[in-house]
Amino acid sequence: MRPILLPDPPSLSTGVPDIFEQGGSHNVVRRAVVIGNGFPGSENQCIGLVRALGLSDNHLLYRVTRPKGGLNEWLHWLPVGFHKKLDFILRHIYLYSRLMLGSKQSKYISSVPSENGGNVGLASILEADVKGIVNLARQTYEKDGPLIVIACGRDTISIASSIRRLASENVFVVQIQHPRSHLNRFDMVITPRHDYYPLTLEAQEQVPRFMRSWITPREPPQDHVVLTTGALHQIDYASLRKAASAWHDEFAALPKPLVVVNIGWPRSNCRYGADLAKQLTDSLLNVLATCGSVRITLSYKTPAKVSRVIFKELGDNPKVYIWNGQEPNPYMGHLAWGDAFVVTADSVSLISEACSTGKPVYVVGADHCKWKIAEFQKSLRERGVVRSFTGFEDMSESWSYPPLNDTAEAATRIRRELAARGWSLRS
């Protein structure tokens, strides 16, 4: 039973009307446009930033969709605009050839969902369109003030930079994740510090000289580049409080300390398999005596070879609960109620979110990581934010550190930058 929360009664309007706000209405940023690339990891970063800017109730989400399926899986290196045109041509060639040949099998077409599920039914998310956004910014500038555009991911680079080129007077364009080159195409670039790892001496030793110019980034960070420790996200103190009360019934009665285990999935910079899963379960069983309860969540991308081991070793342990994937996802509840976290090393976002709580975070499998992720792990360890999970910890021990605060810090930088232009954010 969730507690019944009454809505707040209407409060006395004692505030100052908007029109008397400092500097007039056309200098106040009240809305945001988010350009996503369809990946939850990236869009989550944009929305986190929007939230930190206080614009979460007034933002539009656009999406750049790269053609998928069939031949397209081999064409990710193409600029997304060109890729779309090519896809359009290919589609038509295919259609015509099919008509000519009278073939009934249509493997290519059926496997290709078109932009934002366009032909499925309701187009809930708009396809990012430079002209449309530029027009929006220009036409509503007088009435609604400047537009802040937040984009994330490589596929959004060209659109975001075009919007800035066409409407630089009316927009403030923020690009999240390093856009490789020409950083001055954006008003602000927010990127993790470890994206600059290739510029360090240590990294350069690992790469042959002739390759270096091909590796992002090419130059050290400029003034309008905000360096973060981890990824941006939506977790802040207020969201944790809300999650805590929403999940109160589920978690308040659990034996403490509650240890939360978040398992990601192997990727190119951090490869692992059943061996790491076994190491994780062994260590968990080792520290189980010091845990009140353990809750495990697996990502939807976690490979079966990993999850099999987890279920086999811990599935019937009375202290351990493994989330079976059924909604609602308890992730936020875990962040709010967990007393300590164990996270696999692969995921920058999972680790960043756990580390923004200020609660103990243990990382498992950091030695499987290389290149940028290894650098990320190293920096966190050196700052005392995470510790390696060895299986000899006392999970009831509580230690703390300055919580990762990248999203709020990035928002503060944006506020300052806006202020320098004479703009302000709606408070």
Partner: protein, 779 residues
């Protein structure tokens, strides 16, 4: 008069004089004596916030006096445990004096000058954490007594700082956060999260860290400071209403004195007036008066703390009870200590008596600590007798290492140079004695087992109680060990005697003995039945008619008629023996003589046999050489009886075996019966009876008592510590008993409380209705 009082209590005209806070304060003092050993977490309020968020100012406003170190950078560098104790004002017959007491002062002294309190806090901080901004987690204890404060216990914690300065380590923020967490993680701790209004509440360090310990905010009170220095056009209304971040206990907004106010030496009283004025001048804060201002904060804090304590008391009580029980038990285990000579003597005597009682009751199976998982004490002794001793004797077959050849050789040897007319007695007696002698070793072993068992039992007795006195334990072990050994000797001697008695006289008239006649009949039958399938042996019977079964049986029957009258046997046997030209087999012959008959019965005997035979064969050789030229083949030095059995011989062998078995059974039964009796009499029961006397004789000596009852030093220390803990817990328990726990007894409890603790709780009666009217603050 109300005007004289600082507004903090003047506006809080209804002090919620519940008796619970003083009681918790008392408990805190009580448990402070235990130091870090205390595992019982008491309800308290911890003040957390980032550096310069105004924590200390809030505290000072609550007390109404300046007494905390202040400045621009880190001021609170050690946790400050602050107890506010309300005293009786002069209007109520008390005094208006206000003073502070530090818990680290011994003896406690009252400090009336609050600037001295501040200096003392600074000095004490510097003493532990160094002069240069270092931070330590060892708390300072301070009590403030004043008629103008409400009863509240608070812990002022160092502020969360971002940038290390001075001697602070680079991970200062992590350290302070960890320190704060250790305090607020306890479910019994209320959290006062102080956040300044001029920063983003969603990023408030105070609320963030409070959320780590208290996710759903059911024990966090938000305090928003610096409402007066918010940006123009902004207000904290939504924050105070909990719309930004909900907290179950809500928020209180305050306006602290600014640094300027402090420099201008403006009093807290003036500041509170200014605060009230500020809120009244802002229409945005109208309607929020119940969550604005320091007086409201004090009131709310007091109410919440009272509720919080009430909610925690039952579990606190049970925890104290558990600790009390455990400590009492531990203390008991260390026993009493007596200093006087007479008392020590009595103690030793009672120890000895108890030890002997424990020893006998373990033996008799009356011990209180009886095990259900394994045999112990007397039951083990029975097991050794029955399942070890008797069982192994039963399993022994008297004929197992006795071949037919052995018996035949013995019979032939017994009849001498002639062939036997009757089956002779001698082989039977020799063989049966040999079997009886085999019983000696297991019997002695059995006694040894019982001895070991008794030693074990003696070690188990009073083990716990004796741990106190290692010297006594060692001496008692020595005494009982020697005493048991003394008991072992007579029991073993008796066992030897018993076996010798059995060997010395073979009582063939024993009613259970099979007797000659019956043995012959049975043997005949057995042999006959076994011969039928072997017709090959028949022709031999006819070759030697004198040894036919019929004649043989006739003779043998006579030879074993002794069952009716012994004399007959001797009469009829004597001629036979005389014919044989050797001493009559009357049993008077020495043992060695008899055993020498047996070839290979043991090495010595065989050697003797050879020695006896040698001179005889040499002399005969010489005689023959002189008289005749016919040479006989020399007989081999070792002669064996002919290898083939005649039927007669088989019968003889069978008879001997039957007799042997029958008689051995009788003896074995006697031994099985008598050996345990001997052991019980000479060893077990004897020690049980005499142990007490022996102890008295050996240990209860005037000059020994002191040495015996010497305790190890660590034990004395432990006892003392446990005694102290016990005393404190009893005190705590009594303190808690003064408190009503049930909701329905609250009313009565207040009455009792106000009467019993009248001088400590002014205004209790006045507040009764008020407390009940505030039921909405139930957590």
């Amino acid at each position: 008069s109300v005007d004289d009082l600082p507004p903090s209590s003047a506006s809080a005209v209804t002090p919620l004089g519940s008796s619970v806070i003083p009681i918790v304060n008392k408990l805190q003092d009580i448990f402070a004596q235990l130091g870090s050993q205390s595992t019982i977490a008491l309800p308290q309020v911890a003040v957390v916030g980032s550096q310069s968020s105004g924590k200390s100012s809030v505290l000072e406003a609550l007390v109404g006096r300046d007494f905390l170190p202040r400045g621009n950078d880190i001021c609170t560098r050690r946790p400050l445990r602050l107890q506010l104790v309300q005293t009786k004002p002069s209007s109520d017959g008390g005094s208006d004096e206000e003073w502070g007491e530090f818990l680290h002062h011994d003896p406690v002294r009252r400090i009336y000058d609050f600037s001295e309190i501040r200096r003392e806090i600074e000095a004490e901080t510097n003493r532990v954490s160094g002069e240069n901004k270092g931070v330590s987690d060892i708390p300072i204890g301070l009590k403030i007594f004043s008629p103008n404060v409400l009863d509240i216990s608070l812990v002022d914690l160092p502020g969360i700082t971002k940038v290390p300065v001075g001697d602070q380590p680079s991970d200062i923020e992590a350290r302070i956060r960890t320190m704060i967490l250790t305090y607020i993680k306890e479910p019994s701790c209320l959290i006062l999260a102080v956040s300044p209004a001029n920063t983003d509440l969603a990023n408030s360090d105070a609320l963030q860290i409070a959320g780590n310990a208290d996710p759903d905010g059911h024990r966090t009170i938000g305090v928003i400071t610096k409402l007066d220095i918010m940006d123009r056009g902004t207000d904290a209304r939504n924050h105070l209403l909990g719309k930004t971040i909900p907290l179950r206990l809500g928020y209180v907004g305050v306006v602290n004195r600014s640094q300027e106010d402090i420099l201008m030496n403006r009093s807290i009283k003036d500041a509170l007036v200014a605060e009230e004025k500020f809120f009244r001048s802002r229409p945005v804060y109208s309607g929020l008066t119940d969550r604005l201002g320091v007086p409201q904060l004090a009131k709310k804090l007091n109410q919440v703390l009272v509720q919080h304590i009430k909610a925690l008391l039952p579990s606190l009580k049970s925890r104290i009870n558990n600790a009390l029980f455990a400590t009492a038990k531990e203390y008991e285990s260390y026993g009493d200590i007596t200093e006087s000579r007479g008392g020590q003597g009595a103690l030793l005597l009672s120890f000895i008596t108890k030890y002997c009682e424990a020893y006998s009751s373990t033996l008799e199976g009356k011990s209180k600590e009886m095990s259900t998982s394994e045999l112990s004490g007397g039951a083990r002794i029975l097991y050794i007798f029955q399942s070890v001793f008797v069982k192994s004797l039963e399993e022994v077959d008297p004929c197992e290492d006795l071949t037919a050849d052995d018996i035949r050789t013995a019979i032939q040897n017994a009849t001498g140079p002639r062939s036997a007319l009757f089956v002779p007695d001698v082989p039977f007696e020799v063989l049966v004695r040999r079997q009886i002698s085999r019983l000696l070793d297991p019997s002695l072993q059995c006694a040894r087992f019982i001895f070991d068992e008794l030693v074990k039992i003696s070690h188990q007795c009073m083990m716990k109680e004796l741990q106190r006195f290692p010297v006594l334990q060692k001496r008692m072990d020595e005494v009982i060990g020697n005493f048991l050994r003394e008991g072992l000797e007579p029991s073993q001697a008796m066992i030897r005697d018993l076996i010798e008695m059995e060997m010395d006289y073979i009582n063939t008239s024993h009613p259970n003995f099979i007797g000659g006649t019956k043995a012959v009949e049975q043997a005949m039958q057995t042999v006959k039945s076994s011969r039928i399938p072997h017709p090959v042996a028949r022709p031999r019977d006819t070759v030697e008619p004198e040894r036919t079964a019929s004649s043989g049986s006739q003779i043998k029957t006579r030879s074993f008629l002794g069952r009716q009258a012994n004399g007959i046997i001797t009469d009829q046997a004597v001629p036979t023996a005389a014919d044989a030209e050797r001493p009559a087999p009357a049993g008077s012959t020495s043992w060695s003589g008899f055993s020498s008959i047996f070839r290979g019965s043991d090495g010595q005997a065989a050697a003797k046999n050879n020695l006896l035979n040698k001179p005889f064969s040499e002399t005969t050789q010489e005689v023959y050489q002189n008289l005749s030229t016919i040479y006989l083949k020399e007989p081999p030095t070792i002669l064996k009886s002919s290898e083939t059995h005649s039927e007669q011989e088989s019968v003889e062998i069978e008879i001997t075996k039957l007799l042997l078995k029958s008689y051995y059974d009788i003896v074995r039964k006697n031994v099985e019966d008598l050996v345990p009796k001997a052991i019980m009499h000479f060893l077990v029961n004897y020690t049980k009876r005499e142990l007490h006397n022996v102890f008295i004789e050996k240990l209860y000596r005037e000059n020994l008592i002191e040495e015996l009852l010497k305790e190890p030093d660590e034990l004395a220390i432990k006892r003392k510590r446990t005694q102290e803990t016990l005393r404190i817990l009893q005190q705590a328990n009594r303190t808690l008993d003064e408190l009503p726990l049930e909701a329905e007894s609250v009313e009565r409890g207040y009455k009792i409380g106000s009467e019993a603790k009248h001088e400590e709780l002014p205004g209790t009666r006045r507040s009764r209705t008020e407390t009940n009217g505030n039921g909405r603050l139930h957590m």
